[in-house]
Amino acid sequence: MAVIDLANPTRFLTLVDRVLPWLAGVTALVFAYGLYRVVGAPDDYQQGATVKIMYLHVPGAWLGMMGWGVMTVAALGTLVWRHPLADVAGKAAAPIGAAFTFICLATGMLWGRPMWGTYWVWDARLTSVLVLFLLYLGMLALYWTADDPNRSTRAAAILALVGAVNIPIIKFSVDWWNTLHQPASVVRMGGAAIDSSILVPLLIMTLAFTLLFFTLHFAAMRNEILRRRVRSMRMMQARESDT
């Protein structure tokens, strides 16, 4: 099946139905192995078991950024190639990316409590994730406000691209803002080199969460396609009874 065939939503649905159980299964297996390795991983000599929050926190940060990446590619697909599935992919990625960003923030706060003695400090990395989360909320608000999915398509694509261009600038300014106010005294997470006994489980967990992202993303795309079909069928119903 060529990639171009996937432009047809019906073919895509067939593919998703075939792939999704396997993808979900692989995700579960990798998760099982990853969790087994995480349990076996050593605790930090200072933080104790608290350091295990990292196995949730770091994948959350990665997937929050990857989610916006998916939306950016989808936005290009919408604006440049006018691919019929691109908009669906972008719309499906937004809430999932937002959820992972939220996981990163929430675990960051829980991790911060024992480390900083407070749930939140305006640490450069955490703050950047917060700004990413705000951007996601804006995107969700855009989808939420537009009652007609066809109208929100291009607006959301433009917002995704603007966000993608802006994220590095925001990241830079937040770093600069942070050093301006708190020169180097902040405890930085993961600053030092990580031992492989921690790194390998972390990579496996990141892979597991990435697989989970795509499982959810495919399922969400399928739901969105079906939702749009229901919508057009209901419109057809209204039109037919008009004659």
Partner: protein, 222 residues
């Protein structure tokens, strides 16, 4: 169901359906408050000291800006005409809409306040008191803003006009809201007096807001 409850239920349903503005107020509040430290700096002690003021200003702006479309949509699609022709006094209809708006906009805003309090380094144990001042004070903001929303429709203008008309009227609410929140957090002044005045302001605007808004809508008839 009485007409009052029917209108209340309709407005709440519209707010939570696609295209409704139920969570927009809370979202705006979250963003405004989260942006303050970028201007002020991440000094946790300073943030803790001015935290209640930041929360209250954010809540004030969010409550008022979200009111912009309260009557405008009903005016544009002809619903407002029919609302005026019901057997129920227009004052009550206006109050029903305001209560629905408060429930869908201000309540989510109060619910997320503790999270924002964490970001501003406000002491967890007193966070409930700050949320309580918002619970007592936001009805006043909604019902005072109601007058502005009605005037904006009567004048066929929206947006910033509402804020310009109404913001000065909300100064007492801001004063006593922040005073009560500060009293709860740091003292030494007692919490009771400013909080009681805040409640009184809310109760008074609960009566005055609908009456003035209904009068403004009637004046604007065309």
């Amino acid at each position: 169901m009485s007409p009052f409850l029917a209108l209340l239920a309709r407005d709440m349903r519209l707010a939570v359906r696609v295209g409704g503005g139920a969570l927009m107020g809370a979202l705006f509040y979250f963003i405004v408050v989260a942006m303050m430290p970028f201007a002020i700096g991440p000094d946790l002690n300073l943030l803790a000291r001015i935290g209640p003021a930041i929360l209250w200003l954010g809540a004030l702006l969010a409550s008022l800006l979200a009111l912009d479309r309260l009557f405008a949509t009903d005016h544009e699609d002809g619903s407002l005409d029919l609302l005026m022709m019901g057997a129920m006094p227009l004052e009550l209809a206006v109050a029903a809409k305001a209560i629905a708006h408060w429930l869908t906009t201000a309540v989510p805003l109060i619910v997320i306040t503790p999270v924002l309090g964490l970001m501003l380094n406000i002491d967890m144990s007193s966070m409930g008191w700050v949320a309580l001042t918002l619970l007592a004070g936001t009805p006043a903001l909604t019902f005072i803003g109601l007058i502005g929303a009605a005037l904006a429709v009567a004048l066929r203008r929206g947006g910033l006009l509402l804020a310009v008309l109404v913001l000065p009227l909300t100064i007492p609410v801001l004063i006593f809201g922040v005073a009560a929140a500060n009293a709860a957090l740091v003292g030494p002044a007692p919490f009771g007096p400013p909080f009681t005045i805040l409640c009184a302001l809310s109760l008074a605007s609960l009566v005055l807001g609908p009456v003035a808004a209904a009068a403004a809508l009637r004046q604007g008839l065309e």
